[in-house]
Symmetry: C2
């Protein structure tokens, strides 16, 4: 690995260029959080947890294989669970082809929760109400609090073509349905999740990771699962 | 007027029910702002400016007549510029039929400015770039900073039908084009504006006011006009 060029240092992953043109993701044990409390959705690294990187990788490997089985395109090539690395095809993350821009996150919601509930509190009388796989797109931008962007703004700014936007939203819903069904088989309920999407050879595919770090899940009683408990349920 | 029932006390307008089933809007001299500086977009009343209510009414009268001439539906019936009152048809403001909810504002942008620029700074290299009458919908909610809501969320929460949403967005663009053309005739350039929309007899119409309080305008040199200067240019 030492011969490969490091092209990006992320909060939870480092990224290397491989000689075969692919990319190697190295999952780190760094955890993000706020005020000393671990929160995968937070923007600041607050420490390390032994084995955390391998767990995220094992979950991503788990879900990417399920997506593959359902013919959902991803950038996945192979994972080495012992080394904590994943080889992927080189992708252009959507919303990241502008210098300095952080790229898009695609959120899919089965019911109102978290920031959605905070924003639209006055319009939500029933948190059990289904949201029919609603997709929201936010920008990765710590400084500005990951702002929401609507479809019209994405098109007006020329950040995506209408075709890629529609495909990315449909891909997000597909992934959400597959993950939801998988969790249901374990007696769990998916509340919401987020993925990143990129272009590989002009095709819209799921990139980065799909893991407990990027989903909110509850049990049948409505109790939201702690991150560690969810990891345990998913990969033992 | 004293015999009419006051049904709402707004920041800049009071609302009365008329015997004929219509509504009377009484434009007040209250101005909103922050830290002692007048800002029509702010959420707090900071004082009064003599004649301010009549000016807002005169501008609304001016623009509503232009919308009427262009066959754009509004709730306007008649204005009494001396009394500072406007009679309008009774409308259901969009996004306000939920108890406690503030309703929607429809923003139309011809170029990136203000909150749009703040949110998407990393994606905007050229502030002159046209936005092709981009529509954004926000929720009137002082406490939550008037959050943006995307089309999918409006539909998922059942706040508007797809038909009314599409009609409201098209109406917003129509109004923006008419106001832009009118200002262009005065040597001015519309940057962005916001309107409110309601249903009258099931039809989507422009409601509330269309005035300098709800638009950002610059001169040919690119200098944004002070609110008082814009009022002067519009109604003398």
């Amino acid at each position: 690995m030492s011969t490969n060029e490091k092209i990006y240092t992320g909060k939870t992953k480092d990224v290397y260029a491989l000689d075969n043109g692919n990319i190697l993701l190295v999952f780190k044990d760094d955890v993000t959080g706020e005020d000393g409390v671990i929160d995968p959705g937070a923007n600041t690294v607050i420490g390390q947890v032994e084995g955390k990187g391998r767990k995220s990788l094992a979950m991503t490997d788990y879900f990417f294989k399920r997506l593959h089985a359902a013919a959902v395109p991803t950038h996945f090539v192979a994972a080495d669970l012992d080394k904590g690395t994943m080889e992927v095809r080189r992708a252009e993350p959507l919303g990241k082809d502008v210098k300095g821009a952080g790229g898009f996150e695609f959120i899919c919601r089965t019911r109102p929760w978290g920031s959605f509930l905070r924003r639209y509190r006055n319009y939500i009388s029933d948190a059990e109400r289904g949201l029919d796989y609603l997709v929201e797109i936010t920008i990765k931008d710590d400084e500005r609090g990951d702002p929401l962007i609507n479809d019209d703004a994405i098109l007006a700014l020329g950040l995506l073509s209408a075709e890629h936007l529609a495909q990315a939203k449909e891909l997000t819903r597909q992934v959400c349905r597959i993950v939801e069904a998988d969790l249901r088989g374990k007696g769990l309920v998916l509340i919401d999740m987020k993925i990143e999407i990129g272009l590989v050879d002009g095709q819209v595919v799921v990139i980065d990771e799909v893991s407990a770090d990027a989903m909110r899940v509850m049990d049948q009683s409505g109790q939201v699962l702690d991150h560690a408990v969810l990891c345990q349920q998913l990969i033992g």
